[in-house]
């Protein structure tokens, strides 16, 4: 790719106007030409100036309290220790090996009179939403999981009835893989009444949902410590 073409992609990226494919081209070009990072940084900085033309507006106080409360139970990521290319490679390999995509709109019926667990409540919201989606993927070692989500409802729920058994010193941890960044979405509790697990946090378009095996309580580093046993694409 010539620098001229990269500069066009860079401007488009800074303005948020690229297609997914163009985003991939941009990052591929950066891998080959790391020196072009400065072009991208300049454009991102210029785009920030655009942000400043929107007048600041005070958010409701309740949001501050909500966020500060949420961070106490939120895992955090360490600075990147492994080279970026390697980590992306692990997830991409896992996804390509185990992934089967089945995009189905799957309405489900619930008895609203029963005392419903949060995952089931979220499932109702998801199925009621206009942009409800589902996808199924095979698990390394047998069985499959089905993810249900709605961007507008801001929820994702996963069916995990077929996950292989694990020992007492292990736990299944869920992740939203956003771009290359895995963000913890909580743990799966096996043996509970509902076969659904509500993911912590809101799904973003393009997220890959992955499950890894961690120690009880989840990965202490805030990042997956092993390759995913399953990865579900939401595209």
């Amino acid at each position: 790719m010539h620098e001229h073409d990269f500069r066009e992609l860079s401007a488009g990226h800074a303005l948020g106007a690229l297609s997914d494919e163009e985003e991939r081209e941009l990052y591929a070009a950066l891998e080959e030409h790391p020196e072009w990072q400065s072009i991208l940084d300049e454009d991102l900085h210029a785009a920030t100036s655009l942000a400043l033309t929107a007048p600041a507006q005070e958010p409701p106080k309740a949001i501050r309290a909500s966020i500060l409360g949420a961070i106490t139970e939120s895992p955090r990521e360490d600075a990147q220790k492994r080279p970026r290319r390697l980590r992306m490679g692990l997830f991409a390999l896992a996804a390509s090996v185990v992934l089967i995509l089945a995009i189905v709109i799957a309405p489900m019926l619930f008895d609203a009179a029963r005392d419903t667990p949060p995952a089931d409540l979220a499932m109702e919201e998801i199925t009621a939403a206009e942009d409800a989606r589902s996808a199924t993927a095979d698990v390394d070692g047998g069985g499959s999981v089905t993810l249900h989500w709605s961007i507008s409802a801001g929820s994702a729920v996963i069916e995990t009835a077929e996950l292989p058994e694990i020992t007492d010193d292990q736990a299944y941890e869920l992740w939203f893989v956003r771009g290359e960044t895995p963000i913890s979405a909580g743990l799966i509790e096996l043996g509970q009444d509902s076969e659904l697990t509500l993911l912590a946090g809101e799904p973003s378009p393009g997220d890959v949902v992955a499950i890894t095996v961690e120690e009880p309580g989840g990965s202490p580093t805030g990042e997956p410590t092993s390759d995913p046993i399953v990865a579900v694409e939401t595209d």
Binding site: T48, A54, I67, L68, S74, A79
Partner: protein, 197 residues
């Protein structure tokens, strides 16, 4: 703990806000400082919220996105690299990305076309308070935006605040794709140069 910036032989673009107080707070947040994080929120939430509102318009969705943004800031603070820019730019980039993702997921293209029709996308303000606020915080940026040729400013504003892709902008403006890309590229360059003074 990163207190000093490492400047190696590679030329680093000038980043005027790299040493701002928000950057220090973000670095303290990365070390686990929830007090620093609260201060960072107090410093930048209104700025981020204003940007998200400008893109999304819908207040309830904007509030949700604001929470997602700061949760992401908390979770990924360790990945912030001050050599590449300041904390305010980093956070506003996250806010912008999430707002655009959300507006694309939440609106059918028909609804977004209608949004364009009823909103003024030329960067002009409509109220006295907004105008005063802009002169205090974003005056230079607003003035710089005004210096752009109409077609370039339109491309920038449709993309950045409208959340439209380049292809969608060709449909809205009637200009060919190559022209839209050139307008964005040249417009952004011109904006940067206007701000450098």
């Amino acid at each position: 703990m990163l207190v000093t910036m490492v400047i190696d032989d590679v030329e680093v673009p000038e980043v005027p806000d790299a040493a701002d107080p928000a950057t220090q707070l973000l670095e303290q947040t990365a070390d686990g400082g929830d007090t620093a994080f609260a201060s960072l929120y107090d410093m930048l939430a209104a700025r981020a919220f204003g940007l998200i509102l400008r893109v999304l318009v819908d207040r309830a969705q904007s509030e949700e996105v604001l929470q997602d943004v700061f949760l992401e800031v908390w979770q990924t603070a360790a990945k912030f690299d001050s050599a590449r820019g300041g904390a305010r730019a980093w956070i506003l980039t996250i806010a912008h990305r999430r707002a655009v993702d959300r507006v694309r997921a939440s609106h059918s293209s028909t609804q977004r076309d209608l949004r364009i029709g009823v909103r003024d996308f030329r960067g002009e303000t409509t109220s006295v308070e907004e105008h005063a606020q802009l002169r205090i915080d974003g005056g230079r940026a607003t003035e710089a935006l005004r210096t752009l040729p109409d077609a370039q400013r339109e491309a920038l504003v449709l993309a950045y605040f409208g959340g439209f892709t380049q292809r969608e902008i060709t449909a809205i403006t009637g200009a060919p794709l190559g022209t839209v890309k050139t307008r964005m590229r040249d417009g952004l360059t011109r904006l940067r140069k206007a701000l450098e003074g």
